[in-house]
């Protein structure tokens, strides 16, 4: 059976001719050459060059740095949460009996007061 360029299987006659046209001689000499080169560069070949070593360390290094940043943020939030101003609300400030400390707390409070409480306190005083 004659082969066709449309054939989806390898063409034996063409393949054989191509193989013969490309066929190298003395493969053993070539193998010896490759192995000699491999032995010469044995250590560097197996361990890679400096960039490869650096790139190998890059990923774990970045992961460690990210973990440190996350930990630092978590610590900052937990420590920062104990600020005295955050525990005092504007309502507490207005309900204080001492006018001076109430004013100080009113100025220091981060949020605006509840209008109902302000009016109620004004009415009582």
């Amino acid at each position: 059976m004659r082969s066709s360029p449309f054939d989806h299987r390898p063409l034996h006659d063409l393949g054989a001719a191509l193989r013969e046209a490309l066929q190298p001689i003395d493969n053993q000499e070539f193998v010896d050459g490759v192995m000699a080169a491999a032995r010469v560069g044995d250590r560097s070949l197996f361990r890679g060059d400096g960039w490869e070593v650096l790139s190998a360390w890059a990923r774990p290094g970045l992961a460690a740095a990210a973990a440190i940043v996350v930990l630092a943020v978590a610590i900052t939030i937990s420590v920062g949460g104990s600020s005295p101003f955050e525990e005092v609300t504007i309502d507490d400030a207005l309900q204080t009996t001492t006018t001076q400390s109430a004013t100080l707390l009113l100025v220091a409070a981060p949020n605006p007061p509840d209008i109902d409480i302000v009016l109620a306190l004004s009415y009582e005083r």
Binding site: L14, A17, F30, M35, A38, F46
Partner: protein, 184 residues
């Protein structure tokens, strides 16, 4: 021994295991490199570069997949890199020799002449077609594997193999007819 085991041992520093892989794939790697580079010495240099590069990067080889396509990709890249560095197209080196049509079957009838003509026909193909037809018809890789090796779609591989076959067949059939006439 299985190639994945040899590769694992070579990765661990076993040069003997690497040597077995080199012996197993030397003819194929040299043929594929020669399909890219017309000069056999250049082809061998590229094939050697490829083996040493493979040794350096064995850690990237996935042992669950065949070793051949992974290595052939390195070989094809090494050969293409070498050709680009030289900035000499393989076909250019031979274009002068083929401009007059080359020696016909009525002038030289021996096998050497046929191979020379066939090599010229091969060298005139685009690089990717040379690689595709060599990997398919000589080395027996599938279209899917060649697509992976050359990093191109499977449809492109089929097209490249088809066009390369059509042009090479012209050279082959000419000589086959001649040989038949010689026998008769």
């Amino acid at each position: 021994m299985e190639e994945s085991i040899l590769a694992a041992r070579a990765t661990a520093g076993d040069l003997e295991a690497f040597g077995q892989l080199v012996e197993r794939y030397t003819p194929q790697a040299r043929r594929v490199a020669r399909a890219v580079l017309a000069d056999p010495d250049d082809g061998d240099d590229a094939a050697q570069d490829a083996f040493l590069s493979a040794l350096r990067h064995l850690g990237r080889y996935d042992p669950s997949r065949p070793f051949g396509p992974w290595l052939m990709r390195i070989v094809a890249n090494a050969a293409a890199d070498r050709r680009r560095r030289r900035k000499v197209r393989a076909a250019d080196e031979l274009s002068e020799a083929t401009s007059g049509g080359g020696p016909g079957p009525d002038v030289e009838t021996d096998r050497w002449a046929f191979l020379a003509a066939f090599r010229r026909a091969l060298a005139l193909l685009p690089e990717r077609q040379r690689l595709a037809v060599t990997l398919f018809d000589v080395e027996g890789y599938s279209h899917a594997q060649i697509a992976e090796i050359l990093d191109i779609p499977q449809g492109t591989v089929r097209s490249d193999v088809f066009h390369a076959r059509r042009r090479l067949r012209t050279a082959l059939v000419t000589w086959q007819h001649h040989w038949k006439e010689e026998v008769v």
